[in-house]
């Protein structure tokens, strides 16, 4: 890291002091899993877009729930259950604050982004979609923001339409107005692309959709670990994200929905906790948010997510953003300098995700070889087969960086990739 050293002999400057640079080494100490060796080499974890590592506080919060606080929520009148309910609903409040939603009841706990999107596709789709209606997604969606819409479109006789992108991985924004027809009932868009890293111009798309009277769902799985998200400012109808990609546990996620939308929508799943009264003739449903939380939820996951939100909220977000921008620029420059490498995804605005292909070497061979150097990267289609098709590649190798990564991690990746070339370049 290039730190700004402040020595007493430095003459006073008229300019305000530069913001202190982010100390990645210090935050690494909070993540136990980062401190291990793999195949005898220090782990270099560069698969954060698949899942992030967890800080000690998240692991402790999950442990503490099971060791000391375990009881079901919303049921017992005894101490432990009240305490569990308090933790659970307290995290809902934290999530509301984190996304800057207006009310706690606009936050639904789900299993993750996938379930959040399925909930909206299924519930809103069933209520709203008629034969001939359209749902608009983009060319760079994760399968989880394609397939749920395809399923409900098939069921309802509706059509899926696609906002195209260009070769750099930027959305063709000028195509959006003509794709928003009088039959469009929903726009579902990745806030940040998981395979290309593109940060989409979501404000512009939301404005265009609203102009046409169409609600918008943003898949925020890859955005929340990198960017501050303000659903009120975005004025978005639905926002979906996952705990495990934002340093929390697996199996827990969030759905934000505007209260009037969520209120109008039918329940997604039936069961306990989501009812007001049940008889064999008729059931009346609970109010928000319980209407969408059938069954005993992932309480430990919620407890861990609360700790993750606390952790993220305590980070200096400006410094984190500058650090990640530096990592992205450095990784882009270093990888692009390796002969034979082509970067896939060179949009103007990107999160710290670098996808690439290497001439003559399949990404799975790269994945296996760099793993022997302790470097964990993803190789494959990243659940975005249409993106791979668009770029004419079967798969890519993807390095996705988090704030706890360093330039040294990038150096380890580049050195490992050079080893791949060496191994594959042996004389035949």
């Amino acid at each position: 890291m290039r730190g700004v050293s402040v020595a007493t002999s430095v003459p006073p400057s008229p300019r305000p002091a530069a913001p202190r640079s982010f100390d990645a080494e210090r935050v690494r100490a909070d993540f136990p899993a980062l401190h291990q060796t793999v195949h005898g080499k220090p782990l270099v974890y560069l698969d954060n877009a698949a899942t992030s590592q967890k800080p000690r506080s998240v692991i402790d919060a999950t442990d503490r729930y099971y060791a000391q606080q375990n009881a079901n929520v919303h049921r017992g009148v005894y101490y432990l259950s009240e305490q569990a309910t308090e933790i659970y609903e307290g995290v809902r409040g934290k999530a509301r604050a984190f996304l800057n939603a207006r009310e706690d009841r606009e936050i639904i706990f789900t299993r993750g982004t996938t379930e959040s999107i399925n909930l909206v596709a299924s519930s809103y789709g069933r209520m709203r979609l008629l034969p001939g209606d359209e749902v608009l997604v983009s060319a760079m969606e994760h399968h989880s923001n394609i397939v749920p819409w395809q399923m409900i479109c098939d069921e309802r006789g509706a059509k899926l339409r696609v906002i195209p992108m260009d070769r750099s991985g930027d959305l063709l924004l000028d195509q959006v107005p003509q794709l928003l027809t009088e039959r469009t009932r929903m726009v579902a868009l990745a806030h940040v692309s998981n395979s290309l890293g593109t940060i989409n111009p979501v404000r512009e798309v939301i404005a265009m959709a609203h102009q046409a009277g169409v609600p918008v769902l943003l898949d925020g799985a890859q955005a929340v670990p990198h960017l501050p998200v303000d659903v009120l400012e975005l004025d978005v109808e639905f926002y979906a994200c996952s705990g495990h990609k934002m340093f929390g546990p697996t199996g827990i996620g969030l759905l934000y929905g505007k209260a009037d939308f969520l209120e109008a929508m039918p329940p997604y799943q039936g069961g306990g906790d989501m009812i007001r009264t049940v008889s064999f003739e008729k059931t009346t449903y609970a109010a928000l948010p319980n209407k969408f939380e059938a069954g005993t939820p992932n309480i430990a996951g919620v407890a861990g997510l609360g700790a993750a939100l606390d952790y993220l909220s305590a980070l200096p977000r400006d410094q984190v953003a500058a650090h990640e921008a530096d990592l992205l620029a450095y990784a882009t420059e270093q990888l692009a300098a390796v002969p034979g490498i082509t970067l896939i995804g060179t949009a103007r605005h990107k999160a710290s995700v670098v996808s690439f292909v290497l001439d003559g070497v399949h990404p799975h061979d790269i994945g296996t070889i760099v793993d022997q150097e302790g470097v964990a990267v993803r190789s494959g289609h990243h659940c975005t087969q249409p993106v791979m098709e668009f770029f004419g590649v079967a798969a890519t190798t993807r390095a996705s960086l988090a704030f706890y990564n360093t330039r040294a991690d990038v150096d380890a990746l580049v050195a490992a990739v050079r080893k791949v070339k060496q191994l594959f370049g042996r004389a035949g």
């Binding site: 399949h362 061979d365 296996t368 079967a394 798969a395 594959f424």
Partner: protein, 150 residues
């Protein structure tokens, strides 16, 4: 610690770079497709038979070095063999790549023993075996549905 040069032996790297029998066989009597959804490896295999002997064999495909080199070496190994001999070789190859990594690779497999290295990389065994499953499918019935490793 697993050694990468065990997995990516020279012969594998070389066959990946210049696969043998990388062709369609237009008058093939048997053909089959193999797919490994994990890696996205694809193999299309064409077999020409002279009675029960494999008189010609070709493959097309895309995928990782292990899958492509395996298909290339397999075609060389079974060309000229009877269907029964090719099936027997499939079983021996299968036995070898799924055997204990500590045991020596079956040297009687000749060049195919180069794939003994995958035993130290469990996620890559499917890559090595894909072309053989595809051959097995092609020889089992005149026309078969694509085989998948999943």
């Amino acid at each position: 610690m697993a050694d990468l040069t065990d997995l990516y032996q020279q012969i594998i790297v070389e066959h990946n770079r210049s696969p043998r029998n990388f062709k369609r066989v237009d008058d093939a009597d048997r053909s089959a497709e193999g797919y490994n959804p994990l890696c996205g490896d694809r193999i299309e295999l064409f077999v020409k038979l002279d009675e029960d002997r494999i008189s010609d064999i070709g493959f097309q495909g895309k995928g990782c070095a292990i899958s492509q080199a395996s298909a290339s070496l397999m075609t060389g190994a079974v060309k000229g063999k009877t269907m029964a001999e090719a099936e027997a070789l499939f079983h021996r190859f299968h036995g070898m790549v799924t055997s204990d990594p500590a045991s020596p690779a079956d040297a009687s497999l000749g060049k195919l023993a180069a794939f003994g290295g995958v035993r130290q990389f469990p996620s890559r065994v499917k890559c090595a075996i894909l072309s053989w499953h595809t051959l097995h499918a092609a020889l089992s019935k005149p026309k078969s549905a694509p085989v998948s490793t999943e």
